[in-house]
């Protein structure tokens, strides 16, 4: 189910990217944003897995997590399985909120990270927080499942603040969207 859903949304987002090329992409974002608050819009993907070599099963017996895997200020935190940037939790925000005075990026990419505490896989949205220059603290570079820029839906190198009024990149968050049911 999850694969089908991801595939559907991925196709839709790619189609949107093509159809709206040079024809008011930001206008499209604005219209959709009106009704969806901060749900990420583009692109969406099957995503990165934190422990790709050891696929997790929802509800499987959890492993004892390391201390760092439970610390939102640590790069090893389970939700950060493919973040490349400064952790907002060190910059005045949290793992899922932007620091005061910044603006969340409306576009982003989505991955799947494994939570060792409950043994579940979660769909997470990697958003950037924008409008101020780099936070410069807690640099975190994890790239499980990350792909180069031509596969934009799985890329963490691009500046996801690119479509903001002020595209200045400040820091990155990882927001739980739901359990990745199989």
């Amino acid at each position: 189910m999850q694969q089908r859903l991801d595939r559907l949304v991925e196709l839709a987002s790619r189609g949107l990217a093509r159809r709206t090329s040079r024809r008011g992409l930001l206008g499209a974002f604005g219209m959709v944003l009106t009704g969806t608050a901060l749900l990420p819009l583009l692109p969406v993907s099957r995503g990165a897995r934190a422990e790709a070599a050891e696929p997790a099963t929802a509800g499987a017996t959890p492993k004892a997590p390391s201390k760092a895997a439970s610390d939102p200020n640590a790069c090893e935190y389970w939700k950060y399985c493919a973040i490349d940037g400064f952790l907002c939790s060190c910059c005045g925000g949290t793992s899922s909120t932007c620091p005061p005075g910044t603006q969340p990026s409306p576009i982003t990419w989505i991955g799947t990270c494994h939570n060792p505490v409950d043994g579940r896989d979660y769909i997470v949205s990697y958003n950037d927080c924008c409008g101020k220059t780099s936070c410069g603290s807690c640099m975190c570079n994890r790239n499980e499942g990350e792909k180069p820029m031509y596969r934009l839906s799985l890329n963490n190198d691009v500046n996801w603040c690119m479509a903001n009024d002020n595209p200045n990149y400040h820091c990155s968050v990882s927001v739980i969207l739901g359990v990745a049911n199989k």
Binding site: R18, L152, P167, N168
Partner: protein, 385 residues
């Protein structure tokens, strides 16, 4: 420093009279403040791009002399810049972004032309706010046509396109929709090739007015899901060479009427595959006189494609023979993030590390000639004039 009254009086007296206490040694000659002029270009110069990741609005390029082991000068390149040196070496084109008040205020996207002979701005033209902003610094986010007449600028909003610029007219001629493909790899006959999300190569042909006259899309030539290729490729006399995450070499010959995809070959042996991988930023260098390839390699698994190398592997690009594995003291300097070979017949190899150290090596023997322990903040890519 705390100055006592007697000391202050003595200093004042010296300043007024210009006299110093009696001494056997003659005084130093008076100095005249002036500005250094750059000497004639050397093939052993390198342009070192510091992304300034901790304060990204302040990107800069250092011009470094690989023989004299010293910085020759600097120019600023702004926020998420994309850079290209002109075929005649005289100019660096910089597609970048500035704000009127530091990190906020009015945004200006601009194409600036830095005079490489004086390190001063020679001109600029305004761009629409579309240029690609990526921390993966490819040699082909911006590029010149071989004759230097046109510049190509990759756009990503995230809709993908590229702009064609007439350098002499200082004008944007057109914007070409690339259907989600990125990069601008130039080749003869006014062609530009881009990498696509399904592993294909898009090639667009344009006329002298920047109008698209033809386009073609190749069959998939690599597997994006199983073994993607880095966007940080290197140009060769006939085209371009990419490295894949698992360490395969993909060479594309762009000298003919259609792109020709050379059969890929592996840098790793069966026991090394998946264990030793390329990683970092500028992950491949090519030296035309020797025909050598240089790739930073590390021991690691999936997801380590941005980890710097503990070794530099050296290959003959024609025979695919591995010539050497040069170890680097990664614990001391940081893993090798980027490599650049000079283009002359006594070449140097520059290696920038994760700690922003710069290693200067003999590109033929691997001998470490010099180390800059810390040069700038985040040296992510290098260019050779």
């Amino acid at each position: 420093m705390r100055l006592t009254w007697p000391g202050a009086c003595a200093a004042l007296l010296m300043a007024v009279t210009g006299t110093a206490p009696a001494d056997a040694t003659p005084p130093l000659a008076a100095e005249h403040l002036s500005v250094e002029q750059l000497p004639a270009r050397s093939p052993h110069w390198a342009y070192l791009f510091d992304f300034s990741f901790n304060n990204e609005t302040d990107g800069r390029v250092y011009l470094y002399d690989g023989d004299k082991h010293r910085m020759l000068g600097q120019f600023e390149v702004g926020y998420y810049p994309n850079l290209a040196i002109s075929p005649d070496h005289q100019t660096t084109a910089i597609a970048t972004t500035y704000w009127s008040r530091g990190g906020h205020g009015t945004r200006t996207d601009v194409l600036e032309f830095e005079d490489n002979t004086s390190l001063t701005l020679r001109g600029e033209m305004l761009l629409s706010a579309k240029k690609a902003q990526s921390g993966a610094v490819s040699n082909f986010n911006v590029s010149y046509s071989a004759d230097g007449r046109f510049l190509y600028v990759t756009n990503l909003t995230p809709a993908a396109s590229f702009s064609i610029i007439d350098v002499a007219k200082n004008a944007v001629l057109s914007e070409v929709d690339t259907d989600a493909c990125v990069l601008v790899v130039p080749s003869a006959q006014r062609r530009v090739s881009s990498l696509c999300e399904n592993g294909r190569l898009l090639t667009v042909t344009h006329d002298d007015n920047g109008k698209e006259t033809a386009r073609s899309v190749s069959k998939p030539f690599f597997n994006v899901d199983k073994d993607p290729i880095f966007v940080q490729s290197v140009g060769t006399p006939t085209g371009v060479i990419h490295v894949s995450f698992l360490g395969d070499i993909y060479e594309i010959d762009l000298s003919g009427t259609e792109p020709r995809f050379v059969e890929p070959w592996a840098m790793t042996g069966p026991k090394e595959r998946g264990q030793w991988r390329p990683g970092g930023q500028q992950v491949v260098a090519y030296q035309p006189h020797s025909g050598r390839l240089y790739v930073p390699m590390h021991h690691g698994g999936e997801g380590t494609h941005k980890v710097g190398g503990s070794q530099i592997w050296v290959f003959d690009a024609k025979t695919h023979r591995r010539i050497a594995r040069w170890p680097v003291d990664a614990a001391k300097y940081g893993g090798v993030f980027s490599v650049l070979a000079t283009q002359d017949d006594h070449p140097l190899l520059f290696a920038a590390t994760e700690n922003s150290a710069l290693l200067v090596m003999d590109a033929m023997t691997g001998k470490l000639l010099h180390v800059e322990a810390k040069l700038g903040q985040t040296l992510w890519s290098m260019m050779n004039p």
